[in-house]
Subunit: 396 residues, 2 copies
């Protein structure tokens, strides 16, 4: 008699974004003509930039000719892809060897798969509010989970709590959902904490391209001591609009070792056993992002998303609604007005303003009175959403 | 102190195909001008067919325009992809609902990930010789493994052994590495065995497109009773030359349930938590394979690979070397001549004939005296390999 992984039954009955999709569908079933302003799930809306499109077409052409056809790719990433990522890190003076860089199908895939490196008997520390997949993937893995609440008093980027013992620590900066960022000094404290406990930090850098303040680190590897305690997981989904195209990268330093086992070589073994690498076509497209031309083009898109943020922030300010994020991150995290709970605000915005946002409660208990708006929406939809928010909440 | 997954240290020091690559590299380092005839790793050499190339280009164009741009895909697969797979199964009178079909990045990725559905405390039955990743993925998962040897006396496709109790059963037909196929009657016995024990069959159908005998099943779901005991994992790698392009599919029937848990809904939860789906571009390319035009075109490529098989089989026959496979499968599995062990034959063929093959010992102990040749090589290289095999082994 086969034994299923019963941890699945410990999961809440369905996933946050799925819930939102269901509730939104229920609304559009009744109001089929409604034009929804979608600031909910963090999906991008601008097309891929020219340089990437050209690289993708050229790679497809390679697959059409015997002479240029690419079969199995190296499981950990094509050399050209690793070199592109290496050069991207070098721009911020982070030196990585090619062997420390792994291609992935994106951060969400990797955040789940990476747990394969660890024993079930580990305690995970998740700073909340948090991306719900951190919690769910660790429930499935059977890990003990400590939820560390954060709030406005620590700018949603807390210091480590010395009284807590954790083995695996999730840090996400710029943060989803709060838009908070960790300063160098705060990250240095977390690195010290992790090294002292022989813990491992899983650093989710999926939003690093949105940082505009010079002093905020884009990578955990800008911090001294991080090479003995951190894995960095990143993605092109938000950097270059790859949510539906899929490609990302993971960095595991050679020095990262616990109980005599090197996580880098374990990951090599995991990838060579359990994958056949990532599509040649996608790696070509992804590598093009890191060229000078590619970086200039994605910056333009990021500026457009940032102009969305400014429009929403301005509306919130006029309504006297407190918020954080929106500057170094593509999310605005606002306090629900009028003493509403977050799912109440969700329904109100959907019904009265046709705005789809994300209730803070979906990111953990301490998000109950907060709400997330994404800046990845259509420009005119976002401007209209700002107007409707003002109409709803601005004091006369 | 974080605990690594110590099962990694139970793995053999490196992976079969990696070993072959290393030994081959050592040879070419000394003989840089050698033209190797690569019949080793089962990598395809023919480019993607026109219909697929057109669909890929068109999907890349979609990603270049705001109106057609695709962000996050449904995690379990795009509707158009699921419908394409559904129609492909329908050609063989297998009815599947769209919800039973999942997109994947390919069979190797899925064979590893699928173990997430099961508790660590399970016993796995692997019929050997076998694809080495079955064993390694289950070592990493901490499962008990029973190795069931097969040999020429049972056509490398044994009946279940009633005295063995297993929870998870791997069946691969057509088989890698032996090229053996399971008849309907044999598969029916395995289905009965699995249902009686509440076990689950993981059916690897990656080579189904090579079957030419009408009576051999392409899918486990052609067998009565399989919907309560089987998961099918398939791939376009060999069917349509997607080894470096990546896309596959997995079928989990709604009826498959153990200890009150439905594996289909668990897999939905796994995919929605741990992935963001498979690239829109790749799904478009993959769906094109299953059109009438696509199927006609991939058949032509398969015919070319089969003509490779005929050339090699003819040479082996002239040398009096016994073999199986080559007819309904892209692999030929031969008995090592001259009492050689399989790694000895590997070195002999590499050094005397510049042929790269795969030693049978890499697929389990009972493969020690066997050797695998792949039919995916270049046509003229394969013909040359056949001549050199004759020159080496044909009795005067």
């Amino acid at each position: 008699m086969i034994k299923p992984n019963t941890h699945y039954s410990e999961l809440k009955s369905s996933y946050l974004f799925y819930n939102i999709a269901q509730k939104t569908k229920a609304y559009t079933d009744i109001h089929p003509d409604a034009h929804l302003l979608r600031l909910g799930i963090g999906d991008v809306t601008l097309p891929l930039c020219d340089t990437v499109i050209k690289a993708l077409h050229s790679a497809v052409d390679d697959q059409a000719q015997k002479e240029t056809f690419q079969g199995y790719m190296p499981e950990c990433g094509a050399d050209f892809f690793k070199q592109a990522v290496q050069s991207y890190y070098k721009r911020r003076s982070v030196s990585l060897s090619e062997d420390e860089i792994f291609v992935s199908s994106g951060a969400s895939d990797e955040l789940g798969d990476i747990l394969d490196l660890f024993d079930d008997d580990n305690t995970v520390l998740i700073i909340e509010p948090a991306y719900p997949a951190y919690v769910d993937a660790n429930i499935i893995a059977g890990h003990r989970i400590i939820h560390l609440p954060s709030d406005i008093s620590d700018d949603f980027a807390p210091y480590p709590d010395e009284s807590i013992d954790a083995d695996i620590i999730y840090l996400c900066s710029p943060n989803n959902p709060t838009g908070a960022t960790f300063t160098k000094e705060k990250l240095a404290q977390w690195v010290k904490y992790a090294n002292e406990r022989s813990a491992v930090i899983i650093f989710d850098a999926a939003y690093e391209a949105f940082i505009e303040d010079e002093e905020i680190p884009h990578s955990i590897f800008e911090i001294d001591g991080s090479r003995t305690c951190a894995i960095e997981i990143s993605s092109l989904s938000k950097t270059a609009g790859f949510t539906g195209t899929r490609c990302g990268y993971t960095v595991i330093p050679m020095e990262l070792e616990r109980a005599g086992m090197k996580f880098n070589s374990m990951w090599v073994r995991s990838r060579t056993t359990k994958t056949n690498g990532v599509s040649y076509i996608l790696q070509r497209g992804a590598a093009a992002v890191f060229t000078d031309e590619g970086i200039a083009q994605i910056k333009k898109n990021i500026e457009i998303y940032k102009s969305n943020a400014k429009v929403i922030m301005s509306a919130l300010e006029k309504c006297g609604i407190r918020y954080c994020g929106g500057k170094n991150a593509p999310y605005i995290w606002l306090e629900c007005p009028d003493d509403l709970e977050s799912w109440e605000l969700f329904s109100l915005l959907l019904e009265k303003a046709q705005i789809v946002g994300t209730p803070g409660a979906g990111f953990g208990k301490c998000g109950e009175r907060y709400f997330r708006l994404s800046m990845f929406g259509d420009v005119s939809d976002t401007a209209e959403a700002a107007r409707r928010i003002e109409a709803l909440f601005k004091a006369e």
